[in-house]
Structure formats: structure tokens, C-alpha cells
Symmetry: C2
Subunit: 188 residues, 2 copies
DNA sequence: GTCTATAGTATGATAGAC
DNA sequence: GTCTATCATACTATAGAC
């Protein structure tokens, strides 16, 4: 049998970009095939249950990356404005200056909605909890921390959508750099 | 010829719900047909260029409704916190407690992206400008008003996405009721 | 592990009867 | 203005050769 053209990780990386750009319903097997360079039958070798398997692998992989690159650094961070600035920068890197859509958003539309609802909910809650913990650690009482954490999650998702809609290169970056002021405003 | 089953306005109303739920690529002609009760050929009577025509009509109609129900009241509002509270309530009504997705978000994914990019950008800018004008009127300097207006637009889009992702009934409403505090915090 | 070939279905879109 | 019937294409998915 022929040698593998690429590792499964590489395939998934290419699938991720396609699902982010096209959404679940827009990411047809033809587009996924074109993006990976594998014909449909080869994709079915890696993902026996087809598109749903691919999307699941994509979601799991991105979830793991988000944990490592955004959540864990935040959990280990000391309570300071600098930590929030680093958090913002990690988000900028993770979402490629806002040019990569969030799968948690993309997979709540169309046919993907029911399939991935639970995973999406879990990931969003993790982000919110992580922010709330940090803010409590920073001295806010639990109620204030919860409201601010909600604002934080909303800001990330909203900035991604608005960046996409406005098409201004620097929009997402500027919105994220506003995060520290949004969550821990300096006293006026 | 048989009498029309319904006015074009009624047809569009039903199309709106379908595009919001399924996105552009997920809103297949079969689903649009089912939602309206018209067979595909009848839909083509109303919208000769097919799905693209339907989506355009949907986007234009929703844009007009948003102008009337959200933008114009805000433009005529006096500079006060109460006006912001009314603005938030108008958003809650417009987006049906968060259960209706924003087409500006939905149409920036998949095949719709290039087609509607300009319209989406225009609508988002209108909302941002409207908020910035209000905040300047309320006494903020132009730079601060611009930053806060950006936060406002992001908050609306982000709250819609996060509401959908978390599936908590009251999420969007609570996030919108937080808007006045977000944009015009009471002095501590 | 990758390919060609193809099955069966769904898609967007039309023609033409009434 | 609505319908049945249909087209060509694209879709997800699979079988089988190498």
C-alpha cells in the first residue's frame, strides 16, 4: 500500500481552516477534499463516519489547543493587569488577528447545531469560569466577577463576528487590547 | 390563475426565520419551501434569481426593521441612562430574547460571505455610528465615545452568539440589561 | 493508504400545464 | 400564482483495485 501522504494531524489542521471559513453546511466534502489534497474516499479512511467525524475531530483539536494556549496560561497567571494583557495577546494569536472564526460560533448554526451543542456549551463555560476565577483572584467579589466574566466571553465572540463583518484588518486586535480596560478598568 | 396564497411580505417573514436558523448554506430550497409552504417553483415566481434573491430580500427587510425598531429610536433619544435601557429593551425585542440570530453574523459565513459583505459592513457601521453619536451627545469625548461604541456593537453580536452557544434562556436578556452599565457606568 | 468509479440522494433551477 | 415534473449538477458515502 502507498505511504501516507501526511499525518492525521496535518489533515485535521487543513480541515480546521475549511470549517472555520465555510461553516459546517458550507464545508462540503468537495471543499474538504480540495483543502486536504485527499480525495473523498481517502478522507473516509481517516474519518469513517464522514463529515461528522471530521467536524468532531476538528472541534476536539481546537478545544485542546485553546486549553493549552489560552485557558491554562490564564489559570496559572498571577492576578495583575499584565496577565490580562497576555490573555488578550494569546487570543489575538489563537484567532489569527481575528481572521479565524471561532468554531463554537460556527457550529451553532445549521445542521451542526444539535450535533455539537453540548461540546460548544462546555467550551464556552470553561472560558467563562476561567475568567471568573481570575477576576475573583484579582479581588472582585463573586457576583462582580461573574458579570465581568460574562462580558469577557461576549467580547471575544462579538469581536470575532464584528471583525469578520467590518473587514477592518486591525479591528479584532484593537478590541482585544481593550479587554484589560473592559474587565479591570484603571480608577479614573 | 389561482389567488396568491400569501403576500410577499408574509413569504419573506418565513424566509427570515429559516435563514436565521440555518445560515445561508444550510437554508436549502427544500427547507425554504417547507417553511413558506410554497413549492420551489412558486418561490422562483417571487424570487426569479432564486436563493440569492431571497437572501437579499431577507437582509433588506431585516435591515429596515432594525432601522425602525432600534436605530431611529436611539437617534431621537435624549442623552440619558434611560435611553440606553430602552435601547437594550429594543434589542431584546428585536432578537426575540436572543433566540433569533443576527443575519449580519450569519451571512459572513460560507457562500454568502462575498455576496453580502458590503451590506453587512454598512449595517454594522450604522449601528456603531448611532451608538457613538449617542455617547458623544451624552458628554463623552469623540475618542472615548468611539471605543465605547465599539464595545457596544461587540456586546450585541457577542451576546447573541454566546446565548446560542450556552443555551441559557435568560442569557441574552441579562447581557443586554448590562449594556447601560457597560457603556455609561455609574460612578462608584 | 490512496485511488477510480459509482451508488443513491439532495441540490438549485426551469419548463409548461392549469 | 401555483402546481407537477424534470434537468443537470453536487452532495454524502461506499466498493473494490492496487
Amino acid at each position: 500500500m502507498p505511504p501516507p501522504l501526511m499525518q492525521k494531524d496535518e489533515v485535521i489542521t487543513k480541515l480546521i481552516a475549511t470549517f472555520r471559513r465555510w461553516g459546517y453546511d458550507g464545508a462540503t466534502l468537495s471543499r474538504l477534499s480540495e483543502a486536504t489534497g485527499l480525495v473523498k474516499a481517502s478522507l473516509y479512511h481517516y474519518f469513517p463516519k464522514g463529515k461528522q467525524d471530521m467536524a468532531r475531530a476538528v472541534l476536539d483539536t481546537v478545544h485542546l489547543q485553546f486549553q493549552e494556549q489560552v485557558i491554562q496560561p490564564m489559570q496559572q497567571a498571577e492576578a495583575s493587569r499584565e496577565s490580562l494583557e497576555a490573555f488578550a495577546q494569546n487570543l489575538i494569536d489563537f484567532y489569527m488577528e481575528g481572521n479565524a472564526s471561532c468554531l463554537l460560533e460556527v457550529f451553532t448554526l445549521g445542521s451542526a447545531r444539535e450535533i455539537f451543542a453540548e461540546s460548544v456549551k462546555g467550551s464556552l463555560e470553561k472560558l467563562k469560569d476561567c475568567l471568573a476565577d481570575f477576576l475573583e483572584k484579582s479581588g472582585y467579589d463573586p457576583e462582580t466577577a461573574a458579570v465581568k466574566a460574562r462580558r469577557g466571553v461576549i467580547a471575544v465572540q462579538g469581536a470575532l463576528v464584528t471583525h469578520r463583518g467590518l473587514g477592518e484588518d486591525a479591528f479584532f486586535g484593537e478590541a482585544m487590547k481593550d479587554l484589560p480596560d473592559l474587565l479591570m478598568p484603571r480608577d479614573p
